[in-house]
Amino acid sequence: MVHEWALAEAVLATASRAAGGKIVKSLKVVLGELQNVDVEILRFAISELKRGTDLEAAEVEFEVEPAVFKCEVCGTEWRLDDALLNDREREAIHFVPELAHAFLKCTSCGSPDFRVVKGRGVWIKELVSNG
């Protein structure tokens, strides 16, 4: 059940590029809730894949940013309620978070026209390297 492996590869490649050859000491990765990443699998994948690289010794910390939506029509903001999604929908959003637009609607006016304000994407928030 893992495109977490794809993500692990991506995070390591980006971090290693950013470190520019220096040894990376620590890394803070933010995961949007919509990405629905299994943090334990990601942690494991990263620990496996970083062996023998500049990141071998890096301590990796994760932070999940909760998803917030905002309606383009009425301005209402709301949070993701997993309970409103069935397994198939949750899985679809896990693969491509934009599919939230297929399955969610404004909790106040019902509009499908909303913006993902938070909880989207994956990024490296902090990187500490040696020297």
Partner: protein, 243 residues
């Protein structure tokens, strides 16, 4: 630092050639032609992928008859395989739900799909594109390094005015154009040929309007025996696109 962008070249590293089938105009046969192109190339023994970039109306799965299939997850997503073609489309995830994506969402969805899909080794990745000259097409040009274009049009004035704009865009963006394919011809006319010459592009040939095509949709083997497929095969062969 978006880690997804870092992984895209790696995901596409085994892909030898990427061709986007485009038009600017809707309903000219982009989806039909891109799907048939993929099927015909696969039949010739090539390793072929088919990426559906029409995020609002994904429909290569309608042509192939594989709606409801789901890509497998294995260190990424493994495309659905139909008649030897590796297919990736939002239709596999959205089912029949509406897809009200704004441009910014289409960009994100494309980055996500490219970052996660494991195409493996491919001789050819055919990309079906939506009508218009918006985010999906601009991002395909931006993110799919080395992409080439195959332009589809019908002979109608209404199609040609949009296709003209697309051709201008492809030139500005320095995307190599393989040629212009005329579809759904109903009478002898040199209009598209003349336009292709005006644009400085190769006229590849024409496909007939085929009343029986509709019945073949959803069944790859039935598609192979349509007159459209036979004409397309000849044209692609002449253009050296099946070799």
């Amino acid at each position: 630092m978006d880690p997804r962008l870092a992984v895209i070249p790696f995901r596409l590293g085994g892909v030898k050639r990427i061709i986007v089938v485009c038009s600017g105009k809707g309903g000219v046969g982009k989806t039909l032609i891109s799907t048939l192109f993929a099927l015909l190339a696969s039949q010739r023994g090539k390793r072929v992928g088919l990426l559906d970039l029409d995020f609002h109306g994904p429909s290569v799965s309608v042509v192939l008859g594989c709606r409801g299939c789901t890509p497998l997850e294995d260190k990424g997503l493994i495309p659905v395989e139909v008649a030897g073609v590796k297919v990736m489309s939002l239709d596999f995830f959205a089912g029949s739900a509406p897809l009200p994506l704004r441009g910014r969402d289409a960009t994100e969805a494309l980055i996500e799909l490219l970052a996660v899909t494991r195409w493996g080794e491919l001789d050819l990745l055919v990309v079906d594109s939506p009508p218009g000259t918006g985010d999906e097409l601009l991002d395909a040009v931006r993110l799919l390094k080395g992409v080439e274009a195959l332009v589809v049009t019908t002979p109608s004035k209404l199609a040609l005015s949009s296709v003209s704009r697309l051709v201008g865009l492809l030139k500005a963006a320095r995307v190599p154009v393989l040629g212009v394919l005329e579809n759904m011809r109903v009478e002898d006319d040199v209009n598209v040929q003349r336009m292709a010459a005006e644009w400085g592009l190769v006229y590849l040939g024409w496909l007939p309007y085929d009343r029986d095509l509709e019945r073949a949709l959803g069944d790859p083997s039935a598609l192979f025996s349509t007159s459209v497929s036979r004409s397309l095969e000849r044209i692609l062969e002449t253009a050296n696109l099946l070799a």
